[in-house]
């Protein structure tokens, strides 16, 4: 007999008609879950240094539980050992002692308050663990590709036995805390995956050898946890369907599928499909990988096992999983990053409010921060990580004001709708006839940057719904500010593009990056892009893909200084693939006929053949500032007008000032 924890009737919601497969119930073990939506376990580094749950984590999970509208909401994986070798993140939740149960119960209760199904995940981080201690554990001593990780210690049989026991003990604590579903993490380089992979398991005892031997540890864990769960609490496992470790002789796809079959035999009630490891050298989940690229893995899994198959991995729009579920290629739509960017994303899908979704732009800033021991945040969701803090929630303004926002780019739009939602009368001016500012040009860069426009579209919709008045195609002058006499002016005018100090920057063959991205500037066959931050890289890649010979010259010590490290390495690959030469820590000394002279930081000079120089260097924009100050009007400067940075900074600036006005 299957158990239903919370009854949900989706029949009256428009989303259930548009995406009928997403809002069908599914049976997992002896539990019926009302829909096919799952918030998949994600570390957040919000918990205290000892692993106790914090208010921030409870509020974060409560928001995601509301979002899954009755579906499965899984808390972050817990580490389970007193020695902390299984701990991979400084703020990771712990479950190695009963004293952690009350905190864990707060998470389960928060999820249940939203009438969702609470999932508990067991996660020993293996060779990427030991974030607070000196040595991490793995089946064999195999050094990591990335230097950030701790030295590896091969596990003894006693360590293995204790590891199995710790999984079972932690599972019991999860059930005591009130969780309804149990999940084991065996992915991306964590301990179980270390045992399963031929790359990291070189053991010659019964825990090594062929895939069945390498699965022995996983099977023992599954059986021990299953014994704790009984028939009431379904047990799932996350396993790699493709490790993407061919360069270091990782598992073959056939071996990975065999691991699924062995896990099913061992008693799991569902399998969550993943791809790639942290050590993989191919992009997997960033926006340069098209949405839906990994669905074939779910289909492959469905063809080989009978238990329900769940998957996340670039399924950012509901139509993709809905179709896949309808076609029998997937059972449950998992999400991590889409619900970091917008915790209510599936709820908005159900309610037919897709225009209100703030879509993830797959930048991986969230992951980059986790790997560097910082609390998670989101590139485009300024509320993320602040769900517990009322100061980050728009409150009605004490005194409604007239607000003039100059600039309809991401900073200006974000500020405008937040201020308008709080009751201010907001007018947005822009000399361009369209909203979006320089994001319109930035989104023309290759490798998925068109997804950045989802941010513009979201902000525009929110502005319209909040009653923001647009004045597009209108240049704001000091006279207009004096005439309008608003209570507050927000300058979100974007940056000033600067010319270099070298000779020749006044030449006709020196063009602006925005004109090049818009396709309105003539560009020769040999191009030097001046500036090695993201705008420079974007235009360099665009031009290189058009067949130009491109050289990047920039003053920063490395190209992509302003790009988060979890995304930057892909750009470095693409620069190489497109034969873009990068001279970092350099400047242009002189622009001559057919060449520029590049000067290195240590004083060497050399010529680079060049027909066109593209300027991408930016500075803050002080225009209008004196005029506003002269009128004695409250003034805020945000986004690139304040300090040229990136889309994230623009959005965060806009949101915070929108709250402050």
């Amino acid at each position: 007999m299957s158990k239903l924890l919370f009854a949900w009737d989706y029949s009256s919601y428009p989303g259930a008609k548009t995406y009928p497969n997403l809002f069908q119930p599914i049976r997992i073990g002896n539990l019926t879950i009302p829909n096919r939506i799952k918030y998949a376990a994600t570390e957040d580094n919000f918990n205290d240094p000892e692993g106790f749950i914090t208010d921030a984590d409870v509020a974060y999970m409560r928001a995601r539980a509301e979002g899954v509208v009755g579906g499965l909401c899984v808390m972050q994986g817990v580490y389970m050992d007193l020695g902390r070798q299984g701990q991979g993140y400084v703020g990771q939740a712990a479950a190695w002692h009963d004293r952690f149960v009350p905190g864990l119960k707060r998470i389960a209760d928060a999820i249940h308050d939203e009438r969702a199904v609470a999932g508990f995940q067991l996660m020993h981080c293996g060779r990427v663990g030991a974030v607070e201690v000196e040595r991490c554990q793995a089946p064999s001593y195999v050094p990591q590709r990335l230097r950030v990780f701790k030295p590896v210690e091969a596990m003894s049989k006693e360590d293995i036995r204790r590891g199995v026991e710790e999984h079972a003990d932690a599972a019991r604590r999860g059930i005591e805390a009130g969780f309804d579903v149990m999940e084991i993490s065996g992915i991306v380089g964590y301990l179980l995956s270390n045992f399963i992979s031929s790359y990291t398991n070189r053991r010659t005892d019964e825990y090594g050898g062929d895939i069945r031997g390498r699965m022995r540890f996983a099977v023992e864990v599954i059986q021990a946890v299953k014994a704790v769960c009984g028939t009431d609490v379904p047990l799932g496992i996350r396993l790699c369907c493709e490790e993407l470790l061919d360069d270091v002789r990782g598992n073959s796809p056939a071996e990975s599928i065999a691991s699924y079959q062995i896990a099913e035999e061992a008693g799991v009630d569902y399998i969550s499909v993943t791809a790639g490891w942290q050590e993989s050298i191919v992009p997997v989940i960033s926006r340069d990988v098209p949405m839906g690229s990994w669905l074939h893995l779910a289909k492959r899994a469905k063809e080989h096992v009978k238990v329900p198959i769940q998957m996340a991995y670039r399924l950012f729009k509901p139509d993709l999983p809905d179709r896949a579920i309808g076609a029998g290629e997937l059972d449950v739509w998992e999400m991590c990053r889409p619900m970091i960017a917008d915790p209510l994303m599936p709820k908005k899908v159900l309610e037919g409010r897709e225009e209100d979704i703030r879509f993830c732009v797959a930048c991986n800033l969230c992951l980059a921060r986790l790997f560097r021991d910082a609390p998670m945040t989101c590139y485009i969701n300024p509320r993320c990580a602040h769900e517990h803090d009322p100061r980050f929630t728009p409150q009605p303004a004490a005194e409604p004001k007239t607000v003039l926002v100059v600039g309809a780019g991401p900073a200006g739009l974000e500020c405008a709708y937040v201020a308008a939602q709080r009751g201010h009368e907001v007018h947005v001016y822009d000399r361009r006839p369209v909203v979006g500012g320089t994001l319109n040009e930035a989104a023309r860069a290759p490798y998925g940057d068109e997804e950045l426009l989802t941010c513009r579209d979201y902000q525009k919709t929110q502005c319209e719904k909040a009653g923001v008045e647009f004045h597009l195609g209108v240049e704001v002058t000091p006279e207009r500010i004096a005439e309008e006499a608003p209570d507050t002016v927000v300058l979100a005018t974007g940056p000033v593009y600067v010319r270099g100090q070298g000779a020749g920057f006044e030449r006709d063959n020196v063009v602006n990056v925005l004109d090049v991205m818009a396709g309105t500037a003539a560009v020769g066959a040999r191009v030097v892009v001046w500036g090695n931050r993201k705008p420079g890289i974007g235009v360099a890649l665009k031009l290189a893909r058009e067949g130009k010979r491109v050289t990047l010259v920039g003053r920063n010590r490395s190209a992509g200084f302003d790009i988060n490290p979890s995304f930057k390495w892909r750009y470095m690959i693409y620069l190489r693939q497109n034969k873009v030469t990068a001279y970092n820590d350099c400047d242009i000394e002189e622009i001559q006929d057919g060449a520029v002279v590049v000067r290195t930081y240590d004083g060497y000079r050399f010529p680079v053949a060049c027909d066109t120089v593209v300027v991408t260097e930016r500075e803050r924009n002080d225009a209008l500032k004196p005029a506003v100050q002269a009128e004695g009007i409250e003034l805020f400067v945000i986004g690139d007008a304040l300090v040229p940075r990136n889309l994230s900074s623009a959005v965060h600036d806009g949101y915070r000032i929108g709250l402050r006005i």
Partner: protein, 175 residues
Amino acid sequence: MPVDAEKEITGLWRDLHGAQDEIGRTYYRWRKAALELAGPGVEPLEVGLKAAGVIGAEIGRGLLPRLNWLKGEDAWLRSLAGAIAAQWTRHGAVVKLQKGASATEVLLEWTRCPWPTFAKEYGASMEEDVRCCDRILEAILEDVNLFFNVHYRIETTKAIPRGQGCCVRRLYKAE
């Protein structure tokens, strides 16, 4: 056959940087070996200072045939300061010389230096990095002072590893 100046110069430049990286890493690999041999009872700073003394003395002796007192003390001092700066420039630092408050004083300013980065990479403290540089400089001057029968000193007023943005050292004639 035309010369591709960009290719040739940038090739050399990259090789130079590769060699500069090896200089730093080689020092720290030897330091690691020395610390392993010395055992847990020895302070890494002591080992570093000992090495710095050896390095500085070697450099100082190497300068003796190249410094010419006959050109006058001003020129001699500029040569000494330039030689010290060049030692770090070869490692990848950017060092500028400035006139001091008197004819017998020169300021050396390191606007960039690779050594703190190597120290971080190999787990050495920032203070060890500063003090070892100081020791090298002192040791350079020991034989130079004896040989030319002068009394020059060098002192650190700012240091990159101390978060001060640049290293500034005052090379001056002690009264």
